[in-house]
């Protein structure tokens, strides 16, 4: 007969509280929270600048540094989702330029209502995101190299088409287009909170972070994102539609780029053809500071937002202290290194496989 021992199966009376439970104390649990490092970092950076600069901690100062954090934050959250899903999008930065230019050119050169232009821009963004995702999932090539290709192509297109259609390297004249007032209200209005003027993008950023975090942690799709980034083959073997998940993530990133691009276009009413170029690395830096692993499968939307916040605070805090702006990049690089080192520890702990 088979060596089947007695009383092994689920007899509730044999269940006891596991005596090893104390090994996973609250501290270790906290340590595997991806956004913890970014939270500590944000508090430290805030304290550092707030202690030394009165402007920095005033309501007006806060509104000032929230502004760059907001548009960056929207992108960083989308890029974080994509990174958790195991991919990069190097074309995300230049895509904010593509979408902004599309809004301006369709509205001004083709004399359309701005909402039509914004709609066209959204379609362009969705197609670009789909193209990235489809190519990456179809070929199995690293997304790094595929999106580097689309990045360069878009950079060329942005310049080439803008020159071709406007004769210059700037698309202008958006303020006098029909529908501008309502578009301005949605994308670029300001409100007064505690005596400081806050741009509406800050609200969008908070909303976007909340929704992304909810989707990531509380929905099926969120579960699939973690799984696709953690181990794509394993995920597919248990029935996760890994390809569709990846494509949806690329489209989320391009949609965020559309939102930010539209915000830029409506705010400035004119768009430079090189808008957004170079920003893609900043998004990735913010996501990594926020606890995303470069290898995928781990990270947080709130963390990426905190990363963007650190970025915004540093960017404006340094001039407030009357330091040379060059220190900004040094600071950011140091934050990045610290974050990567911290993430490495987390991964070691979480993946300490004992085969």
């Amino acid at each position: 007969m088979a060596p089947v021992p007695a009383g092994a199966a689920g007899d509730p009376s044999t269940r006891r509280a596991d005596e090893r439970l104390s090994a996973v104390g609250p501290l270790r649990r906290l340590l595997v929270k991806p956004e913890l490092g970014a939270l500590v970092g944000a508090v430290a950076v805030f304290t550092f600048f707030a202690v030394q600069s009165e402007v920095f901690r005033s309501a007006r100062g806060i509104a000032n540094w929230l502004d760059p954090a907001s548009t960056l934050g929207i992108m960083a959250v989308a890029v974080a989702l994509l990174m958790i899903g195991g991919h990069f999008d190097l074309s995300a930065g230049v895509m904010t330029g593509t979408t902004a230019l599309t809004v301006a050119i369709v509205a001004v050169e083709f004399e359309q209502n701005i909402w039509v232009a914004i709609g066209v821009s959204l379609v362009v963004a969705l197609l670009l995101g789909f193209f990235n995702g489809w190519l990456v999932t179809r070929t199995g090539l690293p997304s790094f190299i595929i999106t580097l290709g689309t990045f360069l192509m878009l950079q060329g297109l942005n310049l080439g088409l803008t020159k071709l259609l406007t004769g210059t390297v700037t698309a202008t004249g958006l303020a006098s287009v029909p529908g501008y007032a309502s578009a301005e209200w949605v994308f670029a209005s300001r409100m007064t909170i505690l005596g400081a003027e806050v741009r509406v993008a800050v609200l969008w950023w908070v909303l976007f972070t909340a929704v992304a975090s909810w989707v990531l942690l509380r929905t099926r799709f969120g579960n699939w994102v973690f799984a696709t980034g953690g181990d794509e083959v394993a995920a597919r073997n248990v029935g996760v539609p890994a390809r569709r998940t990846a494509i949806a993530l690329f489209m989320t990133t391009s949609t965020a780029a559309w939102f930010v691009g539209t915000t830029l276009a409506v705010r400035l009413t004119s768009v430079q053809a090189n808008t957004g170029t170079g920003q893609e690395l900043i998004y990735i830096v913010a996501a990594v500071i926020g606890g995303c692993l470069l290898t995928g499968g781990f990270g947080s939307a709130i963390g990426a937002s905190l990363g963007a916040l650190i970025f915004g605070m540093t960017q404006l805090g340094i001039p407030y202290l009357r330091w040379d702006a060059d220190w900004f990049y040094f600071f950011l690089g140091a934050m990045l290194l610290l974050a990567v080192l911290a993430n490495r520890l987390v991964r070691r702990y979480a993946e300490a496989a004992r085969r």
């Binding site: 007969m1 044999t14 269940r15 996973v24 595997v32 953690g230 073997n237 029935g239 979480a350 993946e351």
Partner: protein, 265 residues
């Protein structure tokens, strides 16, 4: 060697073959999985056992031959399609995501939801509850369902994967070396699960290297060697010793026993 019809054929393979590039991993394999029966697949390392079950579970498509589900030709394009047909698999590499919590892994790809429309969400409370219940029924006391799977021991991880497949395998349960990392007690529990599933009318495919596990629970034995079938035997037609010899390549085992004997000085 005639095999009696013990039940409905749920899954049937006819002359199935599969190549990886120039490697012929499987060729000319025919077998049936019947409701309420345990089919054991035996063979050396690299014999093609995992490849066979990956065809059954929709991971690979067969390059040759046919797969029948309930007597009708089936073509699983993805594991999802096989799962939807009630075929659940414990893969040899377990198919778990190390950085994800146990309960998230347990329901991965089949998450229970609540709420409606855009507010439909992953029912985490239920998922944690079921995970804890299913695992303790296997005699595994997980410390914390929020623990990442990567921090579990190999045997604990295997138990989670098995509990998951048993939970979702409504019609066919496929287990690829499910007991390799398990202690005596947990291996016994797994074999009981196999027997219980069989008694519920589930068709089970069990891959194991251990004839002491295979023989008591198996109804038929498919022996593979280098991608080909050495035959399919009903339990009545083969003894445990014969099976052990077949698995180990017959005469080679006698040779080994001879070599391992202490030299009599």
């Amino acid at each position: 060697m005639t095999i009696p019809d013990a039940g409905e054929p749920l899954l049937e393979l006819r002359d199935v073959g599969k190549d990886y590039g120039s490697v012929i991993a499987l060729d000319g394999i025919s077998t049936t999985v019947r409701a309420g029966e345990v089919t054991c697949v035996l063979g050396d390392n690299g014999a093609g056992k995992s490849t066979l079950i990956k065809i059954l579970s929709g991971v690979h498509r067969a390059d040759r031959g046919r797969l029948l589900l309930d007597g009708r030709p089936a073509d699983f394009g993805s594991p999802r399609e096989a799962l939807d047909a009630g075929i659940a698999t414990v893969y040899q590499d377990l198919a778990m995501i190390p950085l994800m919590a146990i309960w998230r892994n347990f329901f991965l790809g089949a998450e229970p939801t609540r709420g409606w429309g855009p507010f439909r969400r992953f029912d985490a409370a239920r998922a944690k509850d079921v995970t804890r219940r299913e695992l303790s029924a296997m005699g595994i006391d997980i410390r914390d369902p929020d623990q990442p799977v990567g921090t579990l021991s190999g045997g604990e991880r295997q138990s989670v994967a098995i509990a998951r497949a048993v939970h979702f395998g409504a019609r066919v349960l496929i287990l690829d070396e499910p007991t390799s990392a398990l202690g005596v007690k947990q291996a016994g529990v797994v074999l009981r699960y196999v027997a219980q599933a069989r008694d519920r009318g589930v068709g089970v495919v069990l891959i194991t290297h251990n004839p002491h596990h295979a023989y008591p629970v198996g109804d038929r034995f498919l022996v593979l060697n280098r991608g080909r079938s050495l035959g399919e035997f009903a339990k009545a037609d083969v003894s445990r010793d014969e099976l052990t010899r077949l698995m180990a390549g017959g005469a080679e085992l006698d040779q080994l026993a001879h070599e391992l004997e202490r030299p009599s000085t």
